[in-house]
Symmetry: C2
Subunit: 254 residues, 2 copies
């Protein structure tokens, strides 16, 4: 049995709480947060605590707060004997210094309030300052996920950058598609199946093979028509830049 | 019973063939194509034909060929009494002129060879020059899909433009994410669950609400770090342009 304390009450904290609660090899001793309201949901089954000076002794402390607050929260754990880990994709391991038993437990997923996820499928990226602590994190991760990876702070930086492209920027393209539809009274839902299929396709083909559309086939007439149709200046710029980037990748093959 | 002839042997043709074959209210009289090899797969259950001068009489002719070839193929059907429709998102209805009984039967999806799709969920966008013909297309569409829409050529142009953003450009962002991972020996599969969740999320939240990441929270430090990390000049430009576009959308809210 591994005993843990969760620090934070946001989406990552809640999803980790739910995942660990569903196993019988983890004892969640305490959830620590600053907001009484947000702690309410945990208080039925677990001890909750508003006072960062009153944190229990545990095997592992999971810091699941916003990136800006990781350092500050970790300072409250300097005297603890347990292993202190953060769950952030963009913070390095070193942010937890001077704590000696430190690590990272980063679930590579975008969590939304009240939207369940299948934790088994979520990659968990682990790092620890000491080898023994890495074993503890591996045990912990394997309890909730089938996809556990050892990832250095350097690699995690790269993953976070790639994630900005495939998650944040992709969502912005959905937003532009939504605006274009709204401007012409077309329900955006019409594009949902296409969006799902585009995402799903890369599990069968790599993105280079999966590429379709006017730019990849060098169809300049359609590109010109589309640019004419676009009214928003920024949308025009994005259309041009992405089309040119695709053309560069494919013109050798045409 | 509606009798149809399918012209073309590409992905759209094959997926429509499979979908209509699974209903018992459609009789596929013939599949017409230029390649004997590609017709082979149909020939077990359906008459196939290489000769565009030898097309049977049918209620509906479905032209499922590449956009460039729609006009040319439609010329072979000028003397037919049946309804002639194309299946292209980017061609207007008028491309079928001088045919009088003409229409569009556009399944809004990106089809991949050998990858099954659930046709019930695919929006089918219909248009016809004559009202009676629209009813025929509605009957036909409802046999395979639960999502049937009347969409004018003008609206279809907009949908096609929006689809370039959410499908073609999104796939290109996946490609960039893939390259970034490859360059640092990180398996791109690590990002698949995130990609699926990003796509899935917009069925629960609209893309504006779903937006996360450094640009939407005005985190200039992370943006600067990411730009420094990117080596490819085009990737840098794309990162900057999309981040600035997101910032513009969110800076009022910060």
């Amino acid at each position: 049995m591994i005993s843990i304390v969760i620090l934070g009450t946001g989406n990552v904290a809640k999803h980790l709480y739910d995942a660990f609660s569903a196993t019988n090899q983890v004892k969640i001793l305490q959830v620590v947060g600053r907001s009484e309201d947000k702690l309410l949901v945990y208080s039925k089954h677990t001890e909750v605590c508003l006072d960062y000076g009153n944190i229990k002794e545990a095997d592992v402390y999971l810091i699941a707060v916003s990136d800006d607050a990781v350092k500050e929260v970790s300072q409250k754990l300097i005297d603890k004997k347990g292993l202190v880990v953060h769950t952030s994709g963009s913070c390095a391991l070193d942010i937890l210094t001077p704590i000696q038993r430190k690590g990272v437990f980063y679930p590579l997923q975008s969590f939304t309030k009240n939207k369940k996820v299948d934790f088994k499928e979520i990659p968990i990226c682990l790092e620890a300052a000491q080898q023994d602590d890495l074993f503890i994190l591996e045990d912990l991760a394997h309890l909730i996920s089938e996809k556990v990876f050892n990832i250095s702070s350097e690699q995690r930086k790269t993953i976070h950058l790639a994630a900005v492209f495939v998650n944040n920027f992709t969502n912005h393209l959905y937003q532009i598609g939504n605006e274009i539809c709204d401007d012409h009274n077309i329900p955006f839902e019409l594009l949902h199946p296409l969006i799902m299929e585009t995402a799903h396709k890369i599990s069968v083909l790599n993105p280079h093979e999966a590429q379709t559309g006017p730019a990849s086939r060098g169809d300049q007439i359609t590109i010109t028509n589309h640019l004419r149709l676009l009214e928003n200046k920024t949308h025009k710029e994005i259309y041009s830049l992405l089309s040119n980037s695709i053309k560069k990748d494919y013109e050798q093959e045409l």
